[in-house]
Amino acid sequence: MRSAAGPIVTAVLGDATGRIVVGLLVAAAVAVPVLNLMVPAGSPLHVPPYVVALIGKYLTFALLALSVDLIWGFAGILSLGHGAFFALGGYAMGMHLMRQIGTRGVYGNAELPDFMVFLNWKELPWYWYGFDAFPFAALMVVLVPGVLALVFGWFAFRSRVTGVYLSIITQAMTFALMLAFFRNDMGFGGNNGLTDFKDILGFNLQAGGTRAVLFAASALAVAGAYALCRVIVASRLGRVLLAVRDAEGRVRFLGYRVEYYKLFVFVVSAMLAGIAGALYVPQVGIINPGEFAPANSIEIIIWVAVGGRGSLHGAILGAILVNFAKTYLTGAIPEIWLFALGGLFVAVTLFLPKGIVGTVPAFKFGGAGGGWRWRRLVPARGRSEERP
């Protein structure tokens, strides 16, 4: 069958890396729910519900890491505000889930969410209209982060704000959003955020079946996003982006409109982050302004850096490994987690600039989008370059 899907399938599944990553994710999407629901609790093969929730959360983080790797690893845009897009997607989903509560809230008000009744609001603010319908909310999950990225990126890339300056203003963006969402009169629940969700599309959020489906959706979303990123990276556009990453000025002089390339990939990345947030919220059951904290956004960067900047499967791996370490350490020895995280930042930048994927031979699968590209196209940078 030689259709338009042909090259896409080749781009994604044409090499070992793609086959392994997509295969693993699809296998997880099927196996974990089956092992959770079908296998009796006593069996050694049984996956307990809390593990499903935990890995589901890691997978949404992996999706977020993918979105950051797409712009940082392949276009050289270091966004320190990607948590904002994640949180916006999460809020869009959270608003839909709030509307689904209906009269089951503490105040039993059919018109208003609990926190609005509590704050003495008389009617629903206009920006809450439409969130009763799932398709609208799903659209907003990608549209809101996408539009914000479009506007922000358009301003930033058009006036050639690059490098560290861009990083700092993206950080300022998420900081400003955090301050705004902490305000009660914004109508997003203020400090407490949105929580106490009951069900999604009519299914109880606490039920094992719903959770298993959410898990499978997360795994498939990561696989889909991985495929999308692979396609983008392997395309001609992806090649231009790589060139922009390595020598932006040169690409511009060759006649490319650098800002449009960057804008495109920035918006796609923001939308992926939004989807990650939307999958994250129903699984953890809360979204609050803390998600906008600049520290969260920087943590995403370390996932990507640990896994290996510029390799898509590295980002997935990094997100899962670092978060696993976080869960383990914060549970076992809480004081040590920040030392470990801080040390990780230092160690990775000093000793593992290519991340795990670029350093540990077992992960060097080779092929397009793998470690190979990273090694070939990134020259060692001397002191003279990029020094302001």
């Binding site: 006036s159 704000v161 950080q171 600049p294 040390g343 940078r381 002191r383």
Partner: protein, 539 residues
Amino acid sequence: MFDFLRSFVAVLLLALGLAGIPVVAAADAVTDGLAGLADRSFSRKVEAVAQLGASGDQRAETILNALLDGRLYVRNADSAVVIGEERGKAFLVADPTAGAEAAEAAIADFTKITVNNRMRGAIRGALGALTLFSADAGTRAAAADAVFKTPTADMLPLLDKALARETDNGVKRRMERAWAAVAAVGAGETAERLAAIETLGSFADPDVRSLLGGLAVGNGEVAQAAGLTLRRIDESLVLWGAVGNVFQGVSLGSVLLLAAVGLAITFGVMGVINMAHGELVMLGAYTTFVVQEAFRAHLPGAFDMSLFVAVPAAFLVSGLVGIALERGVIRFLYGRPLETLLATWGISLILQQLVRSVFGPTNREVGSPSWMSGAYETASGLVLTYNRIAIIVFSLMVIGVIALILRKTSLGLSMRAVTQNRRMAGAMGIRTGRVDALTFGLGSGIAGVAGVALSQIDNVSPNLGQSYIIDSFMVVVFGGVGNLWGTLVGAFSLGIVNKFLEPYAGAVLGKIFVLIAIILFIQKRPRGLFAPKGRAVEA
């Protein structure tokens, strides 16, 4: 010498006159009032209480307090009023007017003076008026303000008396304000009230404003005059409000300046993004805490001097940590700003957790020396606290010293040479590595000094640095990288804009507006307000 003696005697006489004459004049009022208290009728007693209150006599205070506590008795034989006290089985009586020694007496010969609720109210009012004559200036000022808040016509003679005796200018001014308020509200001649309103007009503070607002209701000459004065006060209040905002803004700006000026060196001059800068500030604040603890333990008398020790100590601590950072981590990352950013962020996490482990997660108490507490208050209600003023002055001194170091010392010359052309500077024999370390140490040390200043106005907690890091970056980016002058202008303009937006938008929204404005500003001028020109741009 004789001149001095003569003037001394004159002052003495004057003081005696001021203090003595009213006492003599009031003696009658006190005895009269006492006699009235012996009466059986409550209305007569209330009159007597008012009389005592109006006497403005120190002794009246003692008498009224005794009455309130139920310690005032009448001798059955001659209706003389005495202060009695039961001590064990004995009963001591004293003459309240003479202040003589208490003598023992038989309690059966005396009747306690009874007090009802109406009298209690009257006694409290009279005591309030009497505090106008208290020996303590603060109490007198508070009493004058209390009279101003609830002006009643019968206070007028009392205020006249108090004004005549008052020697403290500040208290006198408060009393004048109270007097004008009483006269303006009172039922006197229209001309008198108009004059009083005119006087009130010279006190442009919010309280007078609301008082006049009450008077301006309705028609008539008085209301009209009050309305006019009100408008004049409003104008001057707007002006003073603006002055206050500018002060607040400059104060915030000086804090930002202190936090950002070290960053201007490490980021601006060296091009190193140091996300751990806030933690170096925090280390400075904790150094202050440690120094103060040492002073409290060993030299409690010299506590006021602790900050003078804390400044160099904080400079050393943060500077050394900075040098260690540069030699240990940052030097391997030159030319890779994004990696530097990540590595220093990691270091900031480690430093935060380290301080949290050592000092605990809660706020630490850092004291202010006595010369920094208190405030300068203008008549218009503008409060300039001394610690804010000290920080403004201190921040300007710091930036002056840095400018001197950069321009006049050989280290500064090497720094500028290495910044402009590293290879050439190296070829000229400058040890670039050493200069890098020292420059970074200087910037970090300044951060520590900023921590000393911040410890005076903010909570000393492990998160102290976090709250300033984004603002400091904004200042540096806004002012233009590599430019001390830009940092200065950037810090003060951000501070002032922030404070002017606050009344309209609230603190949080104001901050959001400023952030958005800066994001937009960077679009227009990506290299900041004072952008480098020529070759330096692409370097």
